[in-house]
Symmetry: C2
Subunit: 468 residues, 2 copies
Amino acid sequence: MASSSRNELSRNETLSLLALSGASLLIIANTFQGDGEPLIASLALSLLAFALAYAMIRWLGPRFVQAGFSGHDMGKTSRPLLPECMGAICAVVYLLAVIVFIPFPFYKDIVAATSGGGNRDVVLHLEYVNQGRFLHRFPHNKLASYLGAIISLQTIALLGIGDDLFDIRWRHKWWIPGLASIPLLVVYFVDFDVTSIVLPIQLQPYLGELFDLGPLYYLYMACVAMFCPQSINMLAGINGIEVSQCLVIALLLAFNDALYLLTPYPHPATDSHLFSLYLLLPWIGVSAALLVHNWYPARVFVGDTYCYFSGMVFAVVGILGHFSKTLGLLLVPQIFNFLYSCPQVFGLLPCPRHRLPRFNARTGLLEPSTTPWSPDRQPHPLVARGLRLMAGLKLVAVTYDKDGLFTETSNFTILNLWLVWRGPLREDRLAWEVTLFQAAVGLFGLFVRHKLALLVFKEDNWGTAVDK
Amino acid sequence: MASSSRNELSRNETLSLLALSGASLLIIANTFQGDGEPLIASLALSLLAFALAYAMIRWLGPRFVQAGFSGHDMGKTSRPLLPECMGAICAVVYLLAVIVFIPFPFYKDIVAATSGGGNRDVVLHLEYVNQGRFLHRFPHNKLASYLGAIISLQTIALLGIGDDLFDIRWRHKWWIPGLASIPLLVVYFVDFDVTSIVLPIQLQPYLGELFDLGPLYYLYMACVAMFCPQSINMLAGINGIEVSQCLVIALLLAFNDALYLLTPYPHPATDSHLFSLYLLLPWIGVSAALLVHNWYPARVFVGDTYCYFSGMVFAVVGILGHFSKTLGLLLVPQIFNFLYSCPQVFGLLPCPRHRLPRFNARTGLLEPSTTPWSPDRQPHPLVARGLRLMAGLKLVAVTYDKDGLFTETSNFTILNLWLVWRGPLREDRLAWEVTLFQAAVGLFGLFVRHKLALLVFKEDNWGTAVDK
């Protein structure tokens, strides 16, 4: 279609992006000259990343198609051929941004500590560097965490591109984020190696306030790092949904981080949340640029790379920022989608290769996709009973033939379930509704986190000087 | 050909690789249990990386061909189709190895410092961690450098694969290593920001012992990081030459590092050279595995990724280990090849797309490839004079027609020049000779470095307690 060959920026777009980039560069230059607030620099850098990703997605689309990265959009009558794997561009722009950002939180201290230069082996001792620093700035000992986070993200980008290239088998795919979490865990091991968790008040009389999980804590972190990317990759299939869910999660995480910046200073968790913001803001920038191109009607596809990378961004900030439980509250729709998918994923029910909603070319609307049953190939009686129960609870759409045998069951994904509830919807309407649902659930999750957590933990770590 | 479908390991290979891996794992487990000498662990890990890379190159070759990474070997009569870009496998295995290695140099200190766990925000202060450490071990403040090095290497892997995928234009290629050097420079800026160089004795009365290059030092480092990958990428074109030159350079760098481990202890440069060994040994491991497959007659090609990545490994250890001048001495053949190529690269003479030696199917030998001249398209008179002068010095092969006009000049690469000097050679013979030349020049370079440097610098930094 014409849309895929429109790979030039319009004059308006060029001017807007140039203005945005210019303003961002000015702000960044200013933070370098003045009293350098790294958060402002991070914000400006994120705007710059938005502009760069926006332009590069447009420019490089045709090159990706030439290199074999393309796919047909099955949700349109004309089934246009679109560039695939545009998430790789986002990942590269993002990585560039977070790498370039490294000096900002340290700049002033470095200038103060090293003025006059010196021989490198006469090492400027860390304590000296630490003296000139305000505690609410990024502390020097977080540098290793930040670098470890970048390494994990680069690893997932490399492996994600490998997946998009070689179409790795599903059961091997599970291990990709696990491999990418190794750098994170290794850096965690070297830098912190703290494996205790705070226990709920109700359990404290028996087990003490802190409980040391030991190596299990690493297993827990690896599971978080493996679950986030996969669960986002599973909530996919219609224009814009991958990016919009990630944007919502990232914005809510950033909102939660911002809460900690407003607390009575000094708060022990402020640094963790600044760290998280430095990693989230550029991702919000490049994701927004991708969403413009990927929203209905999509002109590009995002590829597995985007989902993996995005999930890894969340896992990284959750693990290194020590709020993996909060992260879990924001991923409730993904967790639900994963659990809901289990019967098909683990073979209790047949699982077609693609389970995205079915496009009805006549109405132009999406309908739940289904798994067909023939009279001689019916589900196991126990499974059949489960299906009938779920059908009664409106958790699956089932059609029967005149003998009461199954003929079709809707596929077990949250998108199909939504269509079961709400009836056929246009693609963008479905994406909007699921995105708003994600936002509502996430906001409620944050409310729970900060207000109701006091029921099971001694204190919320926001607004008090005591750590969680 | 049959060679490209032989993608199973033979029984002998399987047993050898399994034995090697088993032994390596035992050694690694032992270093973790015992008094953990990280250098032993690094050696064992490098053997493991060799085994893994060896097997993966064999297994994944056909997948790469399917994904479009393949090329014909023009130096054989049958021009077989071989998998291309196998350097990407080496890069991924290598990155995995150096990431897994991170905790080894720190293990003991961590156990000592964090036994009993504790709340993460009650940060174990670095000073405390530092107390229990022997200085000849990897110091904690090198962690950031190590991570920065990994980030630079991952960036070059990402961009190198992008290059192999999208066939980026030559003039854009120059910037790829420049981009990948950003993480390195940024970490250098944050961690050291030392931009002074030691001046030769002869200049010291006028300018002092140290001279601060300021921002120019960063430019210098960026140039080193851009030159190394490109210069290795330019000395390419026949089976095995890319890998064998890199192996020779890496082995010589490791030999030079080993010299510093034998000095009277404590030596201020020991840490830098340990750091360098930790990064070089696994690269030697995966390169050796690749060489087995890439040596004449090649069963795989290495791709630009390998050359870029390899050059970046050298640049990283040279920059962060502070021996970029020594590195320069080992790269003399590459520097010569680059300078010798300039007339064609910068358009003084026409430059065909490929300048690799020409395969003579009749003799089975390689001959210098040439650029043809027609009577009405002769070089500029000045250039012609230069060519005649160089022909007199045996630096180029020139043929004239009966009127004294140029008909052919050999292409300006060291491989062609070698063939001009030595006459037609078989492909493996040429690779052997150039590799031995590289080794001889490198050894001489190290001799110059350690023996003759005293003429221009106050002291060699090997064997004295004073830093360079």
